[in-house]
C-alpha cells in the first residue's frame, strides 16, 4: 500500500513526559484497531514530536503502521497547537476518515486545533466506539444517568476517548514505523516554554490509575490525607479528592475528581469521608467497584457504592490499612 490509505482510521500517539507513549494512547490505539477490523479500514498511528521514535515504536505494537513527524519546535514550545497543525496538514495530504485521540488535556487541545483547521466535527469523551458504516460513539452524560450513542453526519471526524474505556492490548504482530515530513510554516503563534517546574507529590496521572483512594470533606484537613495516602500506597493506587477538599487547599487541584476535575474509571474507587454529591459522582461513578467509608448512613454515596462501611474513617481506614498489610505479609 503506497499511501496511508484514504478513509483510514488514525490514532494520535500522545507523548508522555520523557518521550514514551502515554497510557491513554495505547488504549485508544487498541480501540482503533478493533473498529478498524470491523470496518475493514486501515488503522494508522501518528506521532509528532521533537523525538517521536520511542513513542512511535510503542504505538506500533498496537497498530500496523505508524507515521512520525519530527518537529523540533515542540521541545521548547507548548506542543498542542504545533502538533495540531502538523496533524491537520497530514490529514489534508493523506485523507484519512477519522482521528481518535485521548480525552485528556493533550487530546483535547489537539482535537480543537484539528477541528478548526480541517472543519471536522468532534465526538467527545467516548466510553466506547463501535462501527456501523461509521463510528458509533457511546458517551456517558448527566453524571452517568444516561448513555448516548452518536455518530458523524459526514464521512470524517475526531473522537476523543476517555481513559479506561478499553484495556490496552498489543496486536498479534508489531507494525511498522515510517518517518515522514510536513512542509510549511507553522502559521499559528508559537508559545515558548520559559521554565519547567516539578510539582512535589504529583503522582501518576489520576485518570490512568487502576485504584484510587479519595478523600472528601470528612477527611477534615491536610493531616487527614495522611491516612488516604497510606492506603493508596498500600493498594498501589493514586490519591483523589473532592472539590471541597481541593478548594480548602488540602490537596492539589490535579487530584480532584468530579464535574470540575477529572473523570476517572478505576477498577476500585475507595471513598473516604465523601458524601457523594452529584458533582463528585459524575467523576467516578463508572468505577468498576466503589467502596465507601462514611459516618452518615444517609449520604448519597451509600446509594451507589458497592460496599459502604458505616463508621468513623479515622477508625476504619487504619484498620483497613492494617488488614491490607497483614494480607500482603
Amino acid at each position: 500500500m503506497a499511501g496511508s490509505g484514504a478513509g483510514a482510521i488514525w490514532v494520535h500517539g500522545e507523548l508522555a513526559p520523557g518521550g514514551s507513549l502515554a497510557k491513554i494512547s495505547a488504549e485508544v490505539a487498541t480501540l482503533a484497531r478493533t473498529i478498524g477490523e470491523a470496518a475493514g479500514r486501515d488503522v494508522v498511528g501518528v506521532v509528532v514530536g521533537a523525538d517521536p521514535a520511542v513513542a512511535a515504536a510503542e504505538l506500533a505494537t498496537y497498530v500496523p503502521r505508524v507515521l512520525t513527524v519530527t518537529e523540533p519546535a515542540t521541545a521548547e514550545h507548548a506542543a498542542g497547537t504545533i502538533v495540531g497543525q502538523r496533524v491537520a496538514a497530514l490529514i489534508e495530504r493523506e485523507q484519512p476518515a477519522y482521528l481518535l485521540t485521548g480525552a485528556g488535556p493533550e487530546g483535547r487541545d489537539l482535537a480543537g486545533v484539528v477541528s478548526a483547521l480541517a472543519d471536522w466535527g468532534v465526538l467527545v469523551n467516548a466510553v466506547g466506539v463501535t462501527w456501523d458504516d461509521r463510528p458509533v460513539v457511546s458517551m456517558s452524560i448527566f453524571g452517568g444517568r444516561l448513555t448516548t450513542t452518536s455518530r458523524f453526519t459526514g464521512d470524517h471526524g475526531i473522537v476523543t476517548v476517555r481513559p479506561n474505556a478499553v484495556t490496552a492490548a498489543p496486536a498479534a504482530a508489531p507494525g511498522t514505523v515510517e518517518a515522514t515530513t510536513v512542509d510549511g510554516e507553522l502559521a499559528l503563534p508559537l508559545v515558548p516554554i520559559v521554565e519547567r517546574l516539578e510539582a512535589a507529590g504529583v503522582a501518576a496521572p489520576i485518570e490512568e490509575a487502576r485504584i484510587i483512594v479519595a478523600g472528601g470533606r470528612g477527611v477534615g484537613g491536610p493531616d487527614g490525607f495522611k491516612i488516604v495516602n497510606e492506603l493508596a500506597e498500600a493498594l498501589g493506587g493514586a490519591v483523589g479528592a473532592t472539590r471541597a477538599a481541593v478548594d480548602s487547599g488540602w490537596i492539589p487541584y490535579a487530584q480532584q475528581i468530579g464535574q470540575t476535575g477529572k473523570i476517572v474509571k478505576p477498577a476500585l474507587y475507595l471513598a473516604l469521608g465523601i458524601s457523594g454529591a452529584i458533582q463528585h459522582k459524575v467523576g467516578m461513578q463508572t468505577a468498576g467497584t466503589i467502596v465507601a467509608v462514611n459516618r452518615d448512613p444517609d449520604a448519597p454515596i451509600a446509594e451507589f457504592a458497592d460496599v459502604v462501611v458505616i463508621g468513623d474513617l479515622f477508625e476504619v481506614a487504619p484498620a483497613l490499612l492494617a488488614a491490607l498489610r497483614a494480607r500482603a505479609g
Binding site: 507548548a78 478548526a116 453526519t153 476523543t160 470540575t260 458497592d306 460496599v307 462501611v309 494480607r327
Partner: protein, 263 residues
C-alpha cells in the same frame, strides 16, 4: 487590561434533572434551571482578580439560547462590566465546529488583551472549543492554567500550565487565549450590591447576522455530529452495608476486594 471571559449557561447539575428531548435528542434546556458553567466561574474569578490587580474590565461573551440573560446576570453580579450574548434560532443544536466559529466571530470585532475560557462545560464536556477559537483567530493558546501573570507594560503574559509532572511556564504576547482551571482559585459569591449593579449593566444581544462568523454555514442544520439515541446504563448492584466495629469491617472489605480480584 480588558479581558473577555467566555461563559456558558448550563443546566444545574445539582438539580439532577437534566434530560434529552425525546424528538431530537438535544439537551432539554427548558427542563431545569440554568447556572453559569462551574469551570467558567473559575475563569471569571481569575479575570476579575487580574483586573483588580492591573486595572481594566472584564467582558462576558456567550453563545446560548434566548433565556441566557438571566444566567449571565449572575456572572455580571460577580463583577464583569458588560456582556455580549450571541443568540439565534439557527444556532440551536450547534456542534463544536459551529460553536468555535460563532464565538470566534463574536470575538473578531472586539478589543481585548486576554480571552479566558473554562476547561470544559458540564453539559457538553468537550473541552475542545477554546483551542478551536484560538486557532481560528490565530491567538496564542495557553491551556490548563494554574497561574496567570500578565505583564501589561511588556504586553506579555505568563501561564503555569498543568502537566502530569508539574507545570510548564508558558509565555506569550497578548492578546492571547487562556484556558483556566480550578487551580486559579475559588469563585467569589456575588455581593448584594453586585447583584443590584448587574441589573443595569449592558447585556448586548446579537444575532448571527451581527457577527462575522465567516462564510461557512453554522448552526444545527449543518451539525457534523448527531445523537442517535440514549439509554439508562444498567443499574449498579445493591449496596452492601457494613455496620461492624472497625477491625471486622476492614476484614470484610479486604475479603470483598479479594473476591473481586482487585487485590
Amino acid at each position: 487590561m480588558r479581558i473577555v471571559v467566555l461563559v456558558k449557561p448550563v443546566p444545574d447539575t445539582a438539580s439532577g434533572g437534566e434530560r434529552l428531548r425525546p424528538d431530537d435528542w438535544r439537551l432539554d434546556r427548558q427542563a431545569i434551571p440554568t447556572v453559569v458553567n462551574a469551570n467558567d466561574e473559575y475563569a471569571l474569578e481569575a479575570a476579575l482578580k487580574l483586573t483588580e490587580a492591573h486595572g481594566g474590565e472584564v467582558v462576558l461573551v456567550s453563545m446560548a439560547g434566548a433565556g441566557a440573560p438571566d444566567t449571565m446576570r449572575k456572572a455580571l453580579a460577580m463583577g464583569a462590566a458588560s456582556g455580549a450574548l450571541v443568540t439565534d434560532d439557527a444556532l440551536a443544536g450547534s456542534d463544536i465546529v459551529s460553536t468555535a466559529r460563532v464565538l470566534a466571530g463574536a470575538l473578531r470585532d472586539m478589543e481585548y488583551d486576554l480571552v479566558l475560557a473554562g476547561a470544559d462545560t458540564s453539559d457538553g464536556g468537550a473541552g475542545v472549543v477554546p483551542a478551536g477559537i484560538a486557532t481560528l483567530l490565530g491567538l496564542p493558546y495557553l491551556s490548563y492554567a494554574a497561574k496567570i501573570e500578565p505583564n501589561p507594560d511588556a504586553g506579555t503574559v505568563r501561564v503555569n500550565r498543568i502537566t502530569p509532572t508539574g507545570y510548564e511556564v508558558l509565555e506569550a504576547s497578548m492578546p492571547a487565549l487562556i484556558v483556566a482551571t480550578q487551580a486559579l482559585g475559588e469563585p467569589r459569591y456575588p455581593s448584594l450590591k453586585g447583584i443590584m449593579a448587574a441589573r443595569s449593566k449592558t447585556l448586548e444581544t446579537k444575532g448571527l447576522a451581527d457577527i462575522g462568523a465567516g462564510d461557512a454555514p453554522v448552526g444545527g442544520a449543518v451539525a457534523t455530529t448527531a445523537v442517535l439515541g440514549s439509554e439508562a446504563p444498567p443499574p449498579r448492584a445493591a449496596t452492601r452495608v457494613i455496620r461492624e466495629p472497625a477491625d471486622e469491617a476492614a476484614r470484610q472489605v479486604v475479603e470483598f476486594l479479594a473476591e473481586r480480584r482487585i487485590i
